[in-house]
Amino acid sequence: MTTDTDTDASAAGYGFTRTQVVTLLTPDAEFAALMQGLWPTSVMQVTHFTRGRRAIETLFNDPPDLLIVDGELSDMPGLDVVSLVKSENVYRQLPVIYVISQQELESGRDWLAAEIDDFLARPLRPAEVRARVLLTLARASRSFDANPLTRLPGNTSIIHRIQELIDRREDFALVYADLDHFKSFNDKYGFSRGDEVLMMTARVIVNTIRSLPGIRSFVGHVGGDDFVFIVPPEVAEDACQRLVATFDNIVPSFYDPEDRERGDIQSTDREGHLRTFPLMAISLAVVFNRDGSLKHYGEASQIAMSLKKKAKENPKSCYVLDQRRGGSPQHTPGLPG
């Protein structure tokens, strides 16, 4: 599918970042006409199939943003199409609206087993169809790449947000956060205790950023113990200092009393040797975009990775600010004293 700037702009008017592609499976020509008339094609591009079988290969090759399936297809039950899509992990996230008759709605069906995301019941009224379609798309975009543990936006949303800010030439500080010694903690205490720490870290980041008054911010979860957040450049250092202090305060609560008392844990390292590891710490690498200094997302992540190495040299929680114009990265201890 091609998109030019014009179509993007008009899709954006609806809150979409690009033209939405809808596949409609229905023998009902009137419904197809209704769907095609609701939005300009630059906003919603509706591909209509009158039968089910023909559509499946297209669906699998080039999944749309939304699938609308009529229960009354002539060649196969509509729900079979739905279960075909929903039983494959790669297509599961594709939202499906199922169209049924009033009688079918009254007679009741097993809604929990059907794996559909929403339904429309005949008679189809334009206002309702419009609302259902928009809501279903909005819902899908909210949940599509959220981290399953923390529910924070995932990689696609993160990259998208960063590139958007770069394209708009907005000043920002992008902070990469990760935990030191998380692996040894996981090895010793198990994954579910590790997940507790990730949930805590997410919450600490979100609330620390939110406690900075009156700023626009973004928090995402790359995966595992990697998080990112975006704040205005002028508050980045303050945010890092607060984050380091709060994290260091809270993390001992996640250890067993003996380890907490001792201030370290015994765990096996990558070579299988029993080793002593300090309590977990948070490392922060801060990349600035000022006056459009960054051109691409990849640039930001590359700089961040080299800063992260620097931050990791310090076994304690700390942050490193990108000082590209001023020479080498500035290494800053987390807490005074």
Binding site: D195, E196, M199, M200, N207, R210, P213, T246, N249, S253
Partner: protein, 279 residues
């Protein structure tokens, strides 16, 4: 007592939905969280004076939805993890006692006194994280509050037994309810997934010598309870002479000189908060 009556009462107690508090701290916290420049520390300090607000905050942060049940025993940490939005939600949904009895006000003061005394004891004994001892001290009589809210008709009976028959509050509870507030505390702590050290302080402060997992916590709260009664700060529910188990002092390796030091320190602290009132 019949097992089914006990089960029924336990069920009623754990079903507590609306735990009211006294209006004064609630109003102050509400004012503070509406201001954009309030710090978490300020708010935490205030909440740490009110046993019901503290219990609500810890219950919420330790609930499974946040993903780390039983881990957080500090009010300050709880507030950071919950955030001001959630805290505002707790504040607006908290009601106040319709009738504020003198005994209730006394119990709030007593709880604050025990919080102060328990952390002072913990510091004197060289224990780590004395604030956690303060939290356990603050919540040590929470079972009394919950029983009052959930079984109001029996509350009168307990108070009458204390008045007319020279029983301690916990003896009267055992007679009227069939169990004491220490047992209620243990149920609540389990049900709300409070951290195990806090639970131990809440459920063993009357019998610290039997505490298995965190005896230091039980002993510190036991001694704290005793001290607050010695100073007659607040009202713990009865006027009987307070008792002190020597095992608790022994366990924390507190010598008479240490106890004197604690008493001196507490004397000053209680004087400092003497104008503070919940009424």
């Amino acid at each position: 007592m019949a097992e089914d009556l006990r089960t029924e009462r336990k069920g009623l107690i754990l079903a507590v939905k609306d735990l009211p508090t006294l209006p004064k701290v609630l109003d102050e916290v509400a004012r503070l969280v509406e201001r954009s420049d309030s710090s978490t520390d300020e708010v935490a300090k205030l909440i740490a004076m009110d046993q019901v607000l503290s219990a609500k905050v810890l219950k919420m942060v330790n609930s499974p939805i946040y993903g780390f049940p039983g881990r957080i025993s500090s009010i300050q940490h709880a507030l950071v993890l919950l955030g001001f939005n959630v805290l505002r939600g707790i504040i607006v949904s908290t009601s106040v006692f319709e009738i504020m009895s003198e005994n209730m006000v006394g119990l709030w003061e007593h709880s604050l006194g025990v919080a102060l005394a328990s952390s002072t004891v913990a510091r004197a004994a060289g224990l780590r994280d004395p604030e956690e001892y303060s939290v356990a001290g603050l919540l040590h009589d929470l079972g009394k509050v919950v029983a009052t809210v959930q079984l109001p008709e029996l509350k009168g009976e307990i108070e009458q037994a204390v008045r007319t028959r020279d029983l301690t509050y916990i003896e009267a509870e055992k007679e009227v309810l069939g169990f004491g507030h220490d047992r209620i505390n243990a149920w609540l702590a389990d049900h709300w997934k409070l951290p195990p050290n806090i639970k131990e302080g809440l459920s063993y402060h009357h019998k610290p010598h039997l505490a298995q997992l965190y005896p230091d916590m039980a002993c510190a709260v036991h001694i704290g309870d005793f001290m607050a009664r010695v100073f007659e700060y607040g009202f713990g529910g009865d006027d009987n002479a307070p008792y002190l188990r020597p095992e608790a002092l022994k366990r924390l390796k507190l010598k008479p000189a240490d106890v004197e030091g604690i008493l001196d320190h507490l004397g000053e602290q209680f004087l400092e908060i003497s104008d503070l009132s919940f009424a």
